[in-house]
């Protein structure tokens, strides 16, 4: 902060106040600035982490340190299987977001003038649609009597409607892909925007065809930022517990749902908190990877 402004009221001999009031005037803002984020954000996080080391006894939270919740997680292969399955699911959703998000972002990036801005807006508007409504509508589309089956039967791809599109992992994957895809478009578009136009022009001047320029200049330069966009989608998919609950049925059980059930029906908050810490570790690892990728890309 080399360009910091002078503190207000510093050159202010006319408004001399008592030392006590001045001390208060200096400390009160400082207390608010550091205290409020600490109380509103840090303290709850600490409480959550602490809870994961407590236990349940007779329906009450026992405030005594134990690693029991983590041991219980590691000892149950079913929880680990759900955790790995959810990582895989979120990875697939991220990959779908990356591929289709890239196609859309690239096409918009090539446009010029007003239509470019309009298309960009058009591609992010689905983000403002109500999340529950999107899940509900997707459930209708994927169901036995839904639009997807109707379309597949009408076009002759299927002989009869299939029940395979709803209440399983596939349904969760499709619905999440639809809900989280728009989140990938903007970061990918921004990473394309950061490519200096002179580079593409130089490539063309040196005789590269547009296809060659894309493969050797545009794609390599925009890929790191695009992958970061994909990882962002992965974090969102990883933490979602309502989509799997609404379209996943019994087979579409995810880790987010496992955590959620501990705070609902199972009512074992310490164990739920421990599961959430495991999720948090995965998220921190993903965000760390994204930070590494974007730093690496910037050095070049």
């Amino acid at each position: 902060m080399a360009d910091a402004l002078p503190a207000p009221g510093r050159h202010d001999p006319l408004r001399a106040t008592s030392p006590a009031a001045r001390t208060l005037g200096r400390w009160l803002p400082r207390l608010a600035v550091y205290g409020l984020p600490a109380v509103l954000i840090l303290a709850p996080l600490v409480a959550f982490l602490t809870t994961s080391f407590w236990s349940m006894a007779d329906g009450q939270v026992e405030h005594a340190f134990t690693l029991g919740n983590y041991v219980a997680f590691l000892a149950q292969p079913s929880y680990i299987r759900v955790f790995l399955g959810t990582l895989q699911l979120a990875g697939i959703v991220a990959a779908v977001g990356l591929v289709f998000g890239y196609i859309i972002a690239y096409l918009i990036w090539r446009l010029e003038g007003r239509i470019r801005y309009f298309m960009l807006l058009f591609s992010v508007i689905p983000l403002a649609m109500n999340y529950i409504v999107k899940i509900y509508a997707m459930r209708g589309i994927l169901g036995y009597n839904g639009f997807l089956n109707w379309a597949l039967v009408t076009t002759g791809i299927l002989d009869a409607p299939s029940k395979l599109f709803l209440f399983n992992q596939t349904a969760v994957m499709i619905t999440m892909a639809v809900i989280y895809l728009p989140y990938a478009i903007l970061p990918i578009f921004l990473s394309l925007e950061r490519i200096p136009p002179s580079l593409a022009a130089a490539s063309a001047d040196l005789g590269a065809r547009p296809g060659q320029t894309f493969l050797t200049v545009v794609l390599p330069l925009s890929l790191p930022g695009s992958i970061v966009g994909g990882l962002f989608v992965m974090v969102l998919a990883l933490g979602d517990f309502l989509t799997p609950q609404m379209v996943g049925g019994n087979q579409g059980f995810t880790f987010g749902r496992a955590i959620w059930s501990q705070f609902g029906m199972a009512f074992n908050w310490p164990f739920g908190a421990a599961l959430a810490v495991v999720l948090l570790l995965a998220v921190v690892a993903i965000i760390g990877a994204a930070a590494l990728i974007s730093r690496h890309a910037r050095v070049k």
Binding site: M1, A4, L5, P6, A7, P8, G9, H11, L14, P29, A32, V33, L36, A38, L40, I41, L42, A43, P44, L45, F48, T51, F100, I103, I104, L107, L121, I125, P126, L127, A128, M129, N130, Y131, I132, V133, Y136, A137, I141, N145, F147, W150, V178, R209, P210, G211, V235, L238, G239, F241, L242, M246, W260, F263, W269, A273, A276, L279, L280, V283
Partner: protein, 265 residues
């Protein structure tokens, strides 16, 4: 462009068109069924009516939920705005060594999955013996949207000429006067943009709200509860109106984002 490349781009546009159809399809289905009867997969175009919109007033629970959502969003945006402005102004005036740390903390709820933020606040409220209500929901939303408004405000604040503020202070204005009469008017577009985006986010927020909501449901929570039995056509009508409202808000936010970016250049 050679012919194969032109074909490739056309094929990509076809893929994009399909993706857009998939992205807008769900909303379109809801809007259409609020006006028309569905017979199997085909829409009975002759059945157009505004009947379900007129019936909205007979559903007090839905309207109450809508009211709660608007109240929470307005309160959360207001509180986040005051906090963000105070924080941003404090960080701007003087060398603040704690700035990176405070910014890191503010951005945590925005970056972490909603389930983590939700559980954290739930556990904290429980330890403090605070019952879940619209107040706890509002605090959750405030924490969540703080980052957006803070970011919008600091970006604008950092682009202001330091000399303006120095001049104001040299001419005898207090720090508060300088903030209110010199700085605040120039932050207006950033504040409007941040508030619009934050309002849109709060209006739709579901994953954090789920952990913090008490007896008074917000609209997304109410919709979730109703979804288990299936939506009645009047829910489709309400949802269509909500879609229209949030999408207009988002477009307004995007347009003012464009304006405030243009103003900075």
């Amino acid at each position: 462009m050679t012919a194969p490349e032109r074909i490739a781009i056309a094929a990509l546009w076809l893929v994009a068109a399909l993706v857009f159809a998939v992205l807008y399809g769900p909303a379109l289905a809801v809007v259409l069924s609020s006006f028309f009867d569905l017979k199997g997969q085909s829409i009975d175009w002759s059945s157009f009516s505004l009947h379900w919109y007129a019936g909205l007033t007979d559903n007090p629970e839905m309207l109450a939920a809508l009211g709660h959502t608007l109240l929470v969003a307005a309160a959360a945006v207001l509180m986040a705005l005051v906090l963000a402005l105070g924080l941003a102004w404090y960080m701007k005036t003087g060398t603040r060594r704690g700035r990176p740390f405070v910014e890191f903390v503010i951005f945590l709820p925005f970056v972490l999955p909603g389930i983590i933020t939700g559980i954290s606040l739930l556990v904290a409220f429980r330890e403090l013996g605070i019952e879940r209500s619209l107040v706890t929901v509002t605090i959750g939303h405030t924490v969540l949207v703080l980052a957006i408004i803070y970011r919008m405000v600091t970006v604008r604040l950092d682009s202001l000429e330091a000399s303006q503020i120095e001049a104001s202070l040299d001419l005898g204005a207090t720090g508060l006067q300088t903030f209110l009469f010199v700085v605040l008017p120039q932050l207006r577009s950033a504040i409007v943009t941040g508030a619009l985006l934050a309002f849109t986010l709060s209006f739709d927020e579901t994953l954090v709200t789920f952990f913090l909501v008490g007896g008074d449901a917000t609209l997304p929570i109410r919709l979730w509860a109703m979804m288990r039995v299936g939506f009645t056509p009047e829910v489709n009508a309400l949802v269509s109106l909500v879609l229209l409202a949030t999408m207009s808000l988002a477009v307004l936010g995007a347009l003012s984002l464009k304006d405030s970016m243009a103003a900075r250049r």
